[in-house]
Amino acid sequence: MTSPDTSRAGETAPCGPPGCCGSSNLCIADLSVHYRDLTAVRGVTLDIPEGEITALVGPSGCGKTSFLHSLNRLTDLIPGCRVTGSIHLCDGTEITHPKADVLELRRRVGIVFQRPNPFPQSIRRNFEIPLKEHGWSQRDIPDRIEQVLREVGLWNEVSDRLHQNATSLSGGQQQRLCIARALALDPEVVLFDEPCSALDPIASGVVEDLIHSLKGKLTVVIVTHHLAQARRIADHAAVFWMKDGAGALVEHGPADRVFSAPADPDAALYLSGARG
């Protein structure tokens, strides 16, 4: 773990903090999330490998979403929420540092939520607002919108109606729009919080393929309740479980190994479908 004295927000180093190897994009050390007196997550230490897909699985209420939201400081929005421990990006930027540039951090570590949440404005405005905020010039914005909409396979469906309200799209299209909106800001990491759970099976399949296609381009962390989905797309898996009244990481490693031969007995029962 690195103390704030040795690693400052925005500081660039050839590699992350001690213990964080160069192939990891996010290095999480002894991370705990507290809501006033309640501890939701306790003592998670985990390296998220760069350019790969890491799935966080486990039963409901074991802190996966709290953990995910702490990775781009969305926990700051919750009154009474306190995060201890450290999270570093691979260039040494400490996400948990009190003086970290949170707005820039959230550009670098994007998130897509369970329910699609486009702004109730035109499809184009959904991109223009964040792109302008992060310094894109008006001249470059149309090309950027087309590029990311093509990337998520939505361009052919919406290219002639960018002026229409984004909430008029179907649920699956809205979720792909939200993914495109996050990708437009050129993030290094994208967090997905059960991105398919509010979608029908067909839309869910499209979004899953899309997430799979991001592999190698950026780092993906996905919380999912679909174990089959996690098996299909994840390179690495982390199993969360309730231990002593708080969520804890009980098993992590390459997805093949975690799903086929988990070492932790609780994880083994959960992954076999016998518990949870």
């Binding site: 781009n72 969305l74 929005l77 009154p79 949170v102 707005l103 820039e104 951090l105 959230r106 550009r107 994007g110 998130i111 939520f113 329910r115 949440n117 486009p118 702004f119 109730p120 404005q121 035109s122 184009r124 405005r125 223009e128 607002i129 964040p130 905020e133 992060h134 002026h163 229409q164 309200n165 939200c178 909106r181 996050a182 800001l185």
Partner: protein, 292 residues
């Protein structure tokens, strides 16, 4: 294994309660709407014969028994403009602060909203006295359009704060995290996402405020004054239409017919100003959300 005994023959639920409720609702609607139609019909019947272009443009003569209401229309619109110029930014700002910058349910938020609600229940005559003491005397604005407008602004402020606050609080809960997740500053999220989304609700508040301001008499009696001349500046005294109607109905013998005509014009002004506000807001919204 559990065995179920055959259930007794049951009557289907009676349809009478639903029918009775629908009937009571229909009667209540008929009464409410009927009252409105009656009121408008009465005004049209009594007031329409005297309505003419001259009536709308000419000055007041013989204490209102003859002539027109031209200068009063000008005064009314100036008072309204002063009132809205102050009340809209103040009301929106206050609601924004309560909704976005103060934790909901905190002592501070409860104190301010409680104060605003209290302000809403203050009788307008009290606002009138306050306006006379503070704006007219203490600030030295005298009986003027400005004094009246500022007093009215204080009076409609709680309506604007409450409706804007309700509109902001009724927005989908995931808009704020969505904005924060994209690294948007609070200012951008508020100005570019929350306010446009809450805009229809804010317009409702403004139209309610306009209605209240245009129909107000008590708050203007002591502040904007009685003068029936056309105001040449904001520091001139000017009689609002509502004050004129009150004066004709109570203080002028045989003034009732002219009061009806003036009331009909006031109703039309409220209708036109509201329609204009809603149309402007809708067209702005359509441009903003769809074609930008």
């Amino acid at each position: 294994m559990t065995t179920f005994s055959p259930s007794p023959v049951r009557r289907s639920p009676s349809k009478w309660p639903d029918r009775a409720l629908a009937l009571v609702g229909a009667i209540a609607t008929l009464l409410s709407f009927g009252l409105f139609v009656w009121l408008v019909w009465d005004l049209v019947r009594l007031g329409l014969p005297r309505l003419s272009w001259t009536f709308l443009t000419a000055g007041v003569e013989d204490a209102g028994r003859s002539g027109g209401i031209g200068p009063l229309l000008v005064s009314t619109l100036w008072v309204l403009l002063c009132c809205l110029t102050l009340a809209i930014p103040l009301g929106t700002g206050c609601a924004l602060w309560l909704s976005e910058f103060v934790r909901r349910g905190s002592l501070l938020a409860r104190l301010v909203t409680g104060g605003v609600d209290l302000l809403a229940s203050v009788p307008s005559i009290v606002f009138g006295l306050f306006g006379m003491v503070f704006f007219s005397q203490t600030l030295g604005l005298g009986f003027s359009i400005l004094s009246g407008g500022l007093t009215l602004a204080c009076m409609i402020l709680p309506i604007l704060v409450r409706t804007t606050l309700s509109a902001l609080e009724a927005l989908p809960a995931d808009l704020r995290p969505a904005a924060a997740a994209l690294g948007l500053s609070k200012t951008t999220a508020t100005a570019r996402i929350l306010l446009p989304a809450a805009f229809p609700g804010i317009v409702v508040g403004i139209t309610l405020g306009i209605g209240r301001a245009l129909s107000e008499t008590a708050a203007l009696l002591f502040t904007s004054g009685y003068s029936t001349r056309t105001p040449e500046s904001l520091s001139d005294s000017g009689r609002a239409l509502s004050v004129h109607i009150y004066d004709l109905a109570l203080n002028v013998a045989n003034g009732a017919p002219m009061a009806s005509s003036s009331a009909l014009v006031l109703l039309a002004v409220i209708f036109v100003v509201n329609a204009a506000a809603v149309t402007l807001a809708e067209s702005w919204l359509r441009r903003r959300l769809s074609f930008s």
